[in-house]
């Protein structure tokens, strides 16, 4: 048994690592030209999440032995004001235990991978400081026992994503991408915050366990409102339509950061929050239907966009958006376990895919356009094979991890009786298989399309620190699916203490489930083989599509991401600029500035008037004093 107060160590260690490398990075500035000792930084920054991982494992084991499956520890009283009483209290239950293991495990691998990837970067120490801070925030988010503490982690990951996406801030485009992520998240956070306020207003507590006990005190309308507002927050963090626009741009940061954001941290926060509050969500069928619809639509939309993108990281980014849509779909139909399981498996194979793409980009001297790659299979075999495993996993080919989780969601959708949802989800799964295999075939098959001799001669397999995480993640992407075999799911029984019991709606025969399983595997194989046909056998599909007048608009729509950015630019950003530049500027300049400057002018005029009182002659001051005393004397008499 491990003492429950050591729970604090799990988030604290990465924070310490962050502070050390953060302070160390201050030594290296433009002026000092100090050479950072990379070995020291990488040791501290990688050791801290690894130790956190080991502690998480120990907690996992001791949690397993407990009857009640709950470890809490109250460290101190954080906020105490009137009725509001918030403790700095951490909680480990099956859900947060699983999350801490995923975060620290994948986080550690990404830290190790970054040692090679960021080698010789000027901001080496700064990078690791942010990366550790990111891990810390996410761990606080999942371990928090109440909403305000969760919000601390929630904002922390938002801040760190901003810092890391805009890591190369000298490049204006990347700095803007960082801003975009921050501002989009802020919109979602507003909803989340209002949701928290409403919960406090209604039941006067913010503690998760108390909330679960007191939900019956609220009426349905308020619950629907609260859950919808909280879902707005989840939309922002987990990149669902309409707040998904930041995630594809988030690839401006270094590739391991994308892996961290897309796989282990940040985007999973929205799903985690809904599953954490599943008791609340289950009470509002309306919210759940909204969650499911938005999830489904996002999954479909992102898959259609991913088909035509040129940039290796953009394809992966849209595939993340799409997979997150699947998770929300699962959660929205009440299959919380299925959604969480997909989150779990997705973390492994998406980290694998992103790190694999980082390995490719590294080899290609920072070239990200897939049409300049090709034929890399023979040059970097390990990256190619691990990437292939990731592709198979996300496409849903058994026995890889994605098959089990995605199929479970599909089955639950079918079981919930909504056939339209099922068909769209199945079609999306076809698209997923198609675009991922397209990516794989275009990058690793065919002939190398880039002509630059310097880059060609530079292509090589990545260094050992980058290869090892790839292999580990590939192994896990292959095997973790077996934790969730239907009907004897270890994962489901592990999470069952915190998931609200669902009424079984419809019972299909087991044979039906097996038939559907075959259908989804067939669909995935169909997707892969059609990608093979179009991109390896025929390999001129893009020109054909582009020259076909009927298909060209569809192609362009997909290529331009359904014009979301353009629409936002025209509807929100441009009017906002117009109003700020014309109307608000006038108000600001003449009304607000006038008021502020007026006050300062008033005081300076007054000081001119009164400065003569300060004659410097002591006798005058004595006169004033005596005069004042005389006045006080008179007042006290009458």
């Amino acid at each position: 048994m491990i003492d429950s107060k050591f729970l604090l160590l799990i988030p604290l260690l990465p924070l310490i690592g962050s502070i050390i490398s953060g302070l160390y990075s201050l030594l290296n500035s433009e002026k000092t030209n100090y050479k950072i000792n990379e070995n020291l930084v990488s040791f501290i920054s990688c050791a801290t999440p690894i130790i956190s991982f080991l502690i998480s494992l120990m907690f996992f084991l001791s949690l397993n032995n407990l009857e009640e499956k709950l470890i809490t520890y109250n460290f101190y009283n954080w906020i105490s004001s009137g009725y509001l009483n918030v403790d700095f209290e951490l909680m480990l239950d099956p859900l947060s235990s699983m999350m801490t293991i995923v975060i620290t495990f994948i986080g550690s691998l990404i830290h190790i991978y970054s040692i090679s990837y960021m080698h010789n970067d000027r901001g080496f120490a700064r990078y690791f400081s942010y990366l550790n801070l990111f891990t810390f925030s996410m761990l606080i988010l999942v371990l928090a026992k109440n909403l305000p503490l969760m919000f601390l982690g929630w904002e922390g990951v938002g801040l760190c994503s901003y810092l890391l996406i805009g890591f190369w801030f000298q490049d204006k485009e990347k700095a803007i991408a960082g801003n975009k992520a921050f501002i989009t998240n802020r919109i979602g956070d507003l909803g989340f915050l209002i949701g928290i306020f409403l919960i406090f207003w209604q039941i006067g507590t913010l503690d998760f366990i108390d909330i679960n006990q007191k939900v019956s005190e609220m009426n349905l309308e308020i619950i629907t409102l609260i859950t919808l507002l909280l879902f707005v927050g989840a939309m922002g963090k987990s990149a669902q339509i309409p707040l998904h626009v930041w995630l594809p741009d988030a690839m401006a940061g270094p590739t391991p950061v994308s892996a961290l954001i897309h796989a282990a941290t940040m985007v999973t926060a929205g799903i985690y929050m809904i599953v954490r509050l599943n008791v609340l969500y289950s009470l509002s069928p309306f919210t759940l239907s909204i969650v499911a619809s938005i999830g489904l639509f996002t999954a479909f939309f992102a898959a259609t966009v991913a088909i035509t993108q040129d940039d290796i990281k953009k394809v992966l980014a849209y595939s993340t958006v799409s997979q997150l849509g699947y998770m929300f779909l699962g959660v929205g139909i009440g299959a919380y376990t299925a959604g969480t399981f997909h989150l779990f498996t997705h973390a492994f194979f998406k980290a694998l895919l992103f790190l694999g793409s980082g390995s490719v980009i590294h080899a290609m001297s920072n070239e990200q356009n897939i049409w300049k790659m090709g034929g890399l299979f023979s040059k970097m075999k390990i990256t190619a094979i691990t990437f292939c495993i990731g592709t198979l996993a996300i496409s849903g080919i058994p026995p890889f991890a994605g098959f089990f989780s995605k199929d479970e969601i599909l089955w639950k959708v079918f079981e919930s009786g909504n056939i339209l949802f099922y068909i769209i989800a199945l079609f999306t799964s076809f698209l997923t298989a198609f675009y991922m295999s397209r990516l794989f075939f275009v990058v690793f098959f065919g002939n190398l399309r880039i002509k630059d001799e310097n880059i060609i001669s530079h292509i090589h397999e990545s260094p050992i620190f980058m290869i090892i995480p790839l292999i580990i993640l590939a192994v896990f992407s292959t095997i973790v699916g077996f934790l969730g075999i239907p009907h004897s799911s270890l994962f489901e029984s592990w999470l069952s203490p915190i998931i609200v019991k669902q009424n079984e709606i419809q019972h299909y025969q087991n044979s039906m489930e097996i038939v559907l399983m075959f259908i989804s595997v067939l669909i995935a194989i169909l997707g892969i083989s059609s990608a093979y046909y179009f991109y390896v056998v025929k390999n001129n599909i893009v020109e054909n599509l582009y020259n076909n007048p009927k298909l060209k608009p569809i192609y362009k729509m997909s290529y331009n991401k359904w014009y979301f950015d353009e629409v936002y630019r025209d509807i929100i950003i441009k009017p906002l600029y117009f109003i700020s530049n014309n109307i608000l500027f006038v108000i600001d300049k003449y009304l607000i500035d006038g008021f502020v400057n007026g006050i300062s002018k008033l005081y300076s005029a007054m000081s001119y008037a009164f400065r003569d009182i300060q004659s410097g002659i002591v006798r005058h001051y004595a006169y004033f004093m005596i005069f004042g005393m005389f006045i006080i004397f008179l007042i006290s008499i009458f």
Binding site: R611, D612, I613, Q614, S615, G616, I617, V618, R619, A622, Y623, I626
Partner: protein
Amino acid sequence: MISTQDYLIVSAILFFIGVLGVLTRKNLFIIFMSIELMLNSVNLTFVTFSRFFEDLTGQAIVFLVIAVAAAEAAIGLSIVILIFKNKESLNIDDFNIMKG
């Protein structure tokens, strides 16, 4: 028999002489002496009331005032000496360095 009122009148006269001294004279020493005069007129008031109410607290305060006045005189005189060393003048109107 001298009444309590007479003491108070004397004390008030002494106080106003002090005030006028502070306000009208230019020599630092005279101002200083006027301040002492004011202090002592207040002491007289205290003693008068102490006797009138038959309460010794007033007399205790007088001793306190005398002690404070002694300390004040020590510091005040040393300041006056320093000022004279610097300015070679005791005219208070020469020291208007605080003019705004």
